[in-house]
Structures are given as C-alpha cells and as structure tokens.
C-alpha cells in the first residue's frame, strides 16, 4: 500500500491548568474601574474560586497543545457509523460568527430580532420540505432532546384522546437513547427483534402492537445501515391500533431527496443538524435535534413557535395544546445558523447528491472489504455498513484491537460494538465528503490490518503505537473515579 498516513511528529507534553501559572498573572484585559467601590457585607461574600492565574500566552499555549492531541474531521477520515462525520464547511462557521447573530439577546421584542426569527422560520420550512412532514420545531437541542420532544408529543396526543397507553415498541437495533427517552415519558419499551434480513418484519409488529401500545420508534435506515422496507405496512398496522410511528431521523443522510417520510407513515421524526446538515460535533455538542410532525400533531409542538404575521416574524405562545417549553429560550440558534447556511449552499439537488454519494461510498467500502471481514447482512446498504470480527476471532483478535490498530494508520476507528445485535460489530459510515483515493487508502489499511491479525496478532493487541498515549486503564478509572483535580 501507499505510505501510511499515520506518522510520528513532535508531541508536546502539557501540564494540567492548575499545575501552571503564578498568582498575580492575568489573561484578561480589564475594563476601567470608573465607578466607586460599593459597600459589601462580608456576611455574603466567599473566598472566590481556587483557580490558577495564567498569562494570555500560557492560556494560548495550553489549549493549542491540547488541541494537537485530538483527531478531527479536519485531520482525516472519521468513519464513525451512526455519527455522520462529514466535512463541516468553514463558511458556515463564519456566518454563525456574525456579530448580529452572536450578540442577539433572546428577550428583546421580536421586531428587534427579525433576522434571527426569519432564519428559524425558514429553517423550519426547509426541514418540512426535506422530510415531507408538515411542521417542525427546532427548539430541541440534541438528537436525544428531539426524541424526548417526540415522546412528549406522543404522550400529549394520546392524552388529548383520553387514552393512557403504557408501552412502546422499540426494535433491538435502536440507539440506547430511544428506550431512555421513552422511559422518561413513562412508556415501557417492548423490544422487537429484527428478522434474518436485519429489518423489521410485518408479522412481529402485528404481534407486538395492541391498544395499550402508544406506538413504535423506528430508525430508518436502521442502525445496520439497512432500509426498513416494510415500514409502510408496519405503519398501517400501528395506525390501525391507534398508535403513532416515531421515526428516528439520525440516518437521514442516506435518503434526502429520495424518500418521502410522510408517505411511509411516519408521524413524528427528529433530525440531527449535527449529522445530516454538516454542523460540527464539537467534541460532543452542542448539537440541534429538530422535531418534525404530521399535521395532526402540530398543535402539540413546543412553544414559542415562530410565525409570520403581517409580514413580521413573531414568537407565538398561542398553542394551548403544546407540550410546553424544552429549552430556556429557542434552542441552539448558533447551530441552526450553520445548518441553514449548509442547506442554502447545497440546494435541493446538492442535498440529494450528498445522499446518493454517501450511499455509494458505503456500498463501495462494503464491496471492497467483504472478502476479508465477515459481513452479517450481505445486502445493498444505505449510508453505512456493518462488519464483524468473526473471521479474525480465529486468531483471538477482537474488533477493539483492529480499531486501535487503525489509529496507527492515520484513521479514526469506525463505531465499534454497536448495534448490539451484531457481536463484535464494526460500523463504517464514510459519508459523501470522502473522495475515492481516501476511501481506497482506508480500505487498504483495513486489509493490511486483517493480514496482521493472521501474521502478527500481538501487534494488534498492543496497538496503538503512534498516539500520544497507549491503551488506557478504563477499569481503574471506573473503580476509583477521579473526576476533578
């Protein structure tokens, strides 16, 4: 193969913040004390926090050094399945940094925030167009928050009909957030197994669905990267028993412009702006998890909602059936700006092309690796493909070892050990923004690793070699937690 991307460079050590500095330094430019010092009763005052005092240079070096210990999308390919680590366009960052957006106060009268409100209003319109559903609230601030909103909507809907349902169907391939969100609304998750093709069968849902069941939570495409082909029929069964269909839109990146979510019978769906709409993950947030619904559920959406009245955008609270507020203000506006910019840069054709290429890239990786890794579901996939370590287990090499070894080759490992239904899962989502040469390079690295698993398995068990640290003792961290210095 070509020369490995993985290499060694000069990795600088850096102490902890409080191991640095000297009392009396400062990294802050103080405004003038232009008012007299006021009286202050010592009854209320405290000693102030025990923080180190650092100069501006010390702060800059500290965080610059830390940053170099991270791998990121801007460093290289980051094929984490289920996470959609696509490229985050820089122009979107620039727009979100505009002073008019950054300095907007949320509690000024609407007429003084027209630009921000217009953006929210139009973004919600765009998301209805993309999903095929009827109304959207961008207030939820993360995917799991959107799921919670969706479950609260389902709860409010059934309550409005005077019924109290207690259960919800959750397939075994679901993200852990699904059952956790349902539980917050008092629903007991009823697990349903996927069939031998890796998708839900009509029969199993027909058997599980009853009038005590509020509905079903389905991720489509599912976490095996497969399209739930029977979803339309499943929706009909659920609807016939008075239930609702919740679509987890985490994997929307596979189907923009291709599938009409409304047509499949989905009633409620959340999206992840930080996956599908290219806003950066930020090392784990902030994200944004808009919730999209069919017309009959619109009255229940969170408030306030941005509406247009006499040519002005206003925040309206006039939705008496609303589930209420989910965030102190209107959600993660800073993230919305980036998603809005992305959609306006891509247009309808660009978004559809993105989905097509995401699916092409995943199928390409799948085809080129399936002779060396066990592929539990050998079918056309959507935006991600799932392998296992079954072949390499013969040499007592596990998914974890291969993941760690991939770091030495200069790639972030795929998602591992998820979905739970596949033992030793290796879940690869390349995304559309990776070019063919980089995919080829990644494929070659994984093929080389499978060879190493046979010829030099110990090498894999010791990996990684080139990172700042070797494998870390997670057991010790959990047995004697040290969570602050």
């Amino acid at each position: 193969m070509k020369q490995s991307l993985g290499n060694t460079g000069l990795v600088l050590q850096e102490r902890l913040l409080w191991e640095k500095g000297r009392k009396g330094r400062s990294g802050f430019s103080f405004p003038k004390q232009d008012v007299p010092s006021a009286v202050l009763s010592s009854e209320w005052t405290g000693p102030g926090p025990d923080f180190p005092d650092l100069s501006e240079v010390e702060v800059v070096r500290h965080y610059t050094r830390l940053s170099t210990w991270n791998f990121s999308v801007d460093n290289g390919m980051y094929p984490l399945g289920s996470c959609t680590m696509k490229y985050n366009p820089k122009i979107n960052e620039k727009e979100a940094g505009l002073s008019g957006f950054q300095n907007a106060h949320p509690l000024l009268p609407s007429r003084l925030n027209q630009g921000a409100l217009q953006l929210i209003y139009e973004l919600e319109q765009f998301l209805t167009a993309i999903t095929g559903l009827d109304a959207v609230s961008v207030q939820p601030t993360a995917g799991a928050h959107g799921e919670l909103a969706g479950m609260l909507l389902m709860y409010a809907y059934h309550k409005s009909l005077g019924s109290r349902r207690t259960k919800i169907i959750v397939p075994d391939t679901a993200h852990g957030t699904n059952p956790a969100s349902a539980a917050l609304c008092g629903y007991r998750p009823v697990p349903v197994k996927s069939n031998e093709q890796g998708i839900l069968s009509v029969e199993s849902i027909a058997q599980a669905m009853d009038e005590e069941t509020a509905g079903i939570m389905v991720t489509n495409p599912n976490t095996l990267g497969l399209f739930e082909e029977n979803l339309k029929q499943i929706s009909e069964i659920v609807h016939a028993k008075g239930g609702l269909v919740y679509g987890d839109g985490a994997n929307m990146n596979a189907i923009m412009g291709i599938v009409d979510t409304g047509k499949i019978g989905v009633d409620i769906m959340h999206l992840n702006l930080h996956k599908t709409f290219a806003t950066p993950h930020g090392g784990g947030g902030p994200g944004s998890g808009p919730v999209c619904v069919r017309k009959q559920l619109e009255p229940f959406l969170p408030v306030p909602r941005v509406i247009k009245k006499d040519g002005q955008y206003v925040l309206s609270e006039d939705f008496p059936q609303s589930i209420g507020k989910l965030h102190a203000f209107y959600g993660n506006f800073g993230v919305m700006i980036k998603a809005y910019s992305y959609i306006r840069s891509m247009g309808a054709a660009g978004l559809k092309k993105a989905s097509q290429l995401a699916v092409l890239n995943a199928n390409y990786v799948k085809e080129r690796l399936k002779d060396v890794f066990h592929l539990p579901y050998d079918r056309p996939c959507m935006h991600e493909c799932v392998f296992t370590d079954k072949v390499q287990q013969a040499n007592k090499i596990a998914t974890l070892d291969m993941a760690k070894r991939l770091m030495d080759y200069g790639f972030h490992p795929p998602t591992i050990y998820f979905p739970l239904v596949v033992s030793g899962a290796i879940m690869i989502e390349p995304t559309e923004t990776e070019c063919k040469e980089d995919l080829d390079h990644f494929i070659e690295a994984l093929r080389a690793i499978s060879k190493e698993a046979e010829e030099n398995p110990d090498l894999l068990r010791q990996a990684p070699f080139s990172c700042k640290v070797k494998r870390l003792d997670e057991t010790a961290a959990a047995r004697q937690p040290c969570l602050a210095g």
Binding site: F28, F71, G100, G282, L472, P481
Partner: protein
C-alpha cells in the same frame, strides 16, 4: 458542489465495483411507494459569496450592534469575551471531532473537559461536576429528576424566583412523571419564602436560584438546614455563575446539587443558545448523576491520560434504566467556558465579579437618587428590580426605538402582580457614561 469530491470517472469505477449502473439504482431496495416523486422545495443553491451577503443582511436585522445599550440579562448576559477564547475554541481539532469514545485519539478534548469539570466544581464548591448539559433550564429539570430517583419521594418545592422560563421547562420534563411541584412564594425583600417547607410532606428536594431571577441572593444555608432535616436535597440553581467569584458558592452553603447556566462564562448570547448547562453534586450521588464524566487514569506505560468513565449510568448501556436520555454534553461550550475561566484566573474572576457588583450598585444608587424605587432590599449581584412610574412602557419603547437603549426587562408578563417593574442588568461592558445616560434617559 465543492464539498462533494466525486468526478465522473470516480463514479463510473465505483458504481462498477458496487455492481450497479447508476446512482439511482443504489436505492432499488426502497419500495416505489416510499419514494419522493418531485424535487424538494428548497431555494436554489448559493455560492459562498452570495450566501455571505445574504447572511450578513439577516444578521443586520437584529438589535446587536455596538450602538445598542442593552440593560437586560435575565439568563443571557453580555460580558466581554477575550479574543483568545473565540480563537482557541474555534480550533478545528476541537470543533470537528466527535465525543471522545476513542481516548487515545481524543486526549485534547478529554483533558480539557477534565479541567472544565475541575474548574466548575471549584467555582460551585461541589465535589464533582459533569461534562455539562444542554442549558441551565434542562440541567435544573435533570436535577429534579435526580432528586426523585435518590429520595424516592414525590414532592418538589420550587421557588417562584427561579427563572420563569426554567420553571416552564421543568413542568414539561416532569409532566409525565407524576411528581408534584409546589411553588414557593416570595418575601417582601425579593427572596424566597421557604419558611413553610418544614410543613410540606414528602419533599424530595427544594430548588432555589441564587442569585435569583430578581438578582437577589438567597439564604441557601438556612434552606439546606430545613430540607436536610426532612432527608430531602437542596438544589441550588443559577443563571449568573460569575457571582460566585465574589459571593459564597452553593457548595459552601450545603447544596446537594448545583446546576444552572454557564453562558456568562465566555459564551456569546447567540439569541439564547447554545449555552452551557452546568451540573455538579456531592460525590456520594455520582452514580445517580446524568450526563458524561471524564476521569483520570493511566496508560499501559503508566503515563497520565483521561477517559470517559462511569458510563454504565448512560443510555447507550443502561437503555431505559439510564439516569437520563442525554447522549451528549455541550462539549465545545464547556471548553469555551474553561478557556474563559483560565484567562481570568482566580484573581481575575474575583475582580471582575466585584466590578459587576460595583457597577450595579452605582446604577441602583443613581436611580434611587433620581427618585425611582428599588423594589427589593436583599443583597443583589448584577441585576435588580426597579419600579418605574405607571405608564413607563411608552418611555421604555421610545428609548428602545429612538435611543437604542433597552431599559430593563418588563416583569409584568412573568409576574402580573408586578406591573411597571423592570429587571435591570449591569455588567462590566457598561461604562459610567452609559449608566449616567440611562439614568438621564429614563427621567426624560
């Protein structure tokens, strides 16, 4: 499209490997009746340059320019943010990485979050802080749920001086749980009247905000004594953590959980989000805590390193029995606040808090001298309530329209029994001239 790298030759060779003829054929598994027939109804794609012109136009349609003098806080504060904070927190390596599930490749984020947890717990005087939550309101909702889990009781006493919008969020979260919320009234001095909590049955927790929505400091120690006698928890919420640079922090006053909004620590207001949900508690409750935690450990060679830990509390392992459904933190915001706290240092944070206090006090006295009533007498940090003469709304509107001055936030929509009362906020961003001008203008 510049983000999509595939050339026609790439497409041809890749489709061949996959064994299909066209991009459309990749979707053959999707039943016809699930497909979209027309195109998505979206505006035409813009070039980078068109987009920037358009977005700049939108951004200009907010009251955010330097000409505006906003004396409004109420959970979203204007503070000076050092250039280094924005610069460092926008480094690609932090911005475009994922949750640090692979610690060997994520030591930057992990150490930064461990340091954030440390700074947050020191600021709040608590033993352990998590890696952050969505915002102050959702952090409070999670704190109440945590108290219900720990005590297995049903009633929650919540101060009416907690941010009114936070109280709406907790109602949404607690709606389906069957927990009962009791609202605690206010005393004449602008603090919460919690004298009757002793008589309240089966209290899982008392939640107070300090400084409260009126800017006044609550006597958390007294409240802690009362609720602990009932084996309930004290939840101390906040919207302005800068106050703890100067005033006693929640931990030193007996709080079991401290939670709130950290936006004022170096994060722009950004129309209300993203913010930073800060969340801390005593170590004995850590296994009941929601959210991520970073812990210290060693690598195989004994070198210091950091990992996500105690993750069996979380949804990806415990599923419906998890401590929360939260799957993320506001990592980049936590990092931003840590850079801000590091820039200020302990001495700087104290001086800055003092400056906020002095300026707010200066404005209070000036308004008092001008004949306006400062409604509440309890000690306050950088916000306070003023009663203006009836009909002040016209003056308020005119100042906003003509002079670009926001003379506080009207309390009437939140507290109908306080008409003509306004919540004013003063931070270090306002000069003496700004304050003097405000006093002049509200008298005109």
């Amino acid at each position: 499209m510049r983000y999509l790298p595939h050339t026609p030759e790439d497409l041809e060779s890749m489709l061949k490997v996959v064994g299909v003829k066209s991009l459309e054929d990749l979707f053959d598994v999707i039943p016809r009746d699930s497909r979209r027939t027309g195109n998505m109804d979206l505006p035409a794609a813009m070039s980078e340059w068109e987009l920037h012109d358009f977005m700049s136009g939108l951004a200009d349609k907010t009251a955010a320019g330097p000409a505006y003098k906003l004396f409004i806080g109420a959970g979203s504060y204007e503070h000076h943010i050092p250039a280094t904070v924005a610069h460092l927190s926008s480094r690609s390596e932090f911005v475009t990485s994922y949750t640090p599930y692979q610690p060997e490749m994520s030591q930057g984020t992990l150490q930064a979050i461990y340091e954030y947890q440390t700074l947050a717990s020191r600021l709040l005087g608590m033993e352990v802080a998590n890696a952050s939550m969505y915002d102050g309101a959702t952090a409070l909702a999670e704190a109440l749920l945590m108290a219900l889990r720990i005590t297995r009781k049903k009633y929650l006493a919540v101060s009416s001086l907690i941010h009114p919008l936070y109280r709406r969020v907790i109602r949404t979260y607690l709606g389906p749980t069957g927990a009962e919320l009791i609202e605690l009234p206010r005393s004449a001095d602008g603090t919460t009247d919690f004298s009757r909590i002793e008589e309240m049955p089966d209290l899982a927790a008392v939640a107070l905000q300090s400084p409260n929505f009126f800017g006044c400091l609550e006597n958390l120690s007294t409240a802690a004594g009362l609720i602990h006698k009932q084996n309930g928890l004290l939840i101390a919420c906040f919207t302005e953590p800068l106050a703890f640079g100067l005033f006693k922090n929640p931990g030193s006053q007996g709080a079991d959980i401290a939670c709130g909004e950290g936006q004022s620590l170096g994060i722009p207001r950004s129309f209300g989000g993203p913010g930073l949900g800060m969340f801390a508690s005593s170590m004995k409750y850590v296994r009941n805590m929601p959210g991520r935690l970073v812990g210290l450990t060693k690598d195989q060679e004994g070198k210091r390193g950091f990992v996500l830990t105690l993750s069996t509390r979380e949804q990806h392992i415990r599923r419906e029995k998890a401590t929360s459904n939260i799957c993320t933190n506001n990592s980049l915001c936590a990092l931003t606040s840590a850079i801000y706290m590091a820039s200020l240092g302990g001495s700087g944070l104290r001086d800055l808090a003092r400056l906020n206090y002095d300026k707010a006090q200066y404005l209070q006295s000036a308004l008092k001298k001008a004949g306006f009533k400062i409604t509440f007498t309890a000690p306050a940090f950088n916000e306070f309530v003023v009663q203006f003469p009836s009909g002040f709304k016209t003056v308020h509107d005119r100042l906003l329209e003509k002079k670009k001055i926001a003379a506080g936030l009207s309390l009437a929509p939140f507290y109908p029994d306080l008409p003509d009362h306004y919540l004013l906020c003063v931070t270090e961003t306002k000069s003496k001239e700004d304050l003097d001008a405000l006093v002049r203008e509200v008298q005109s």
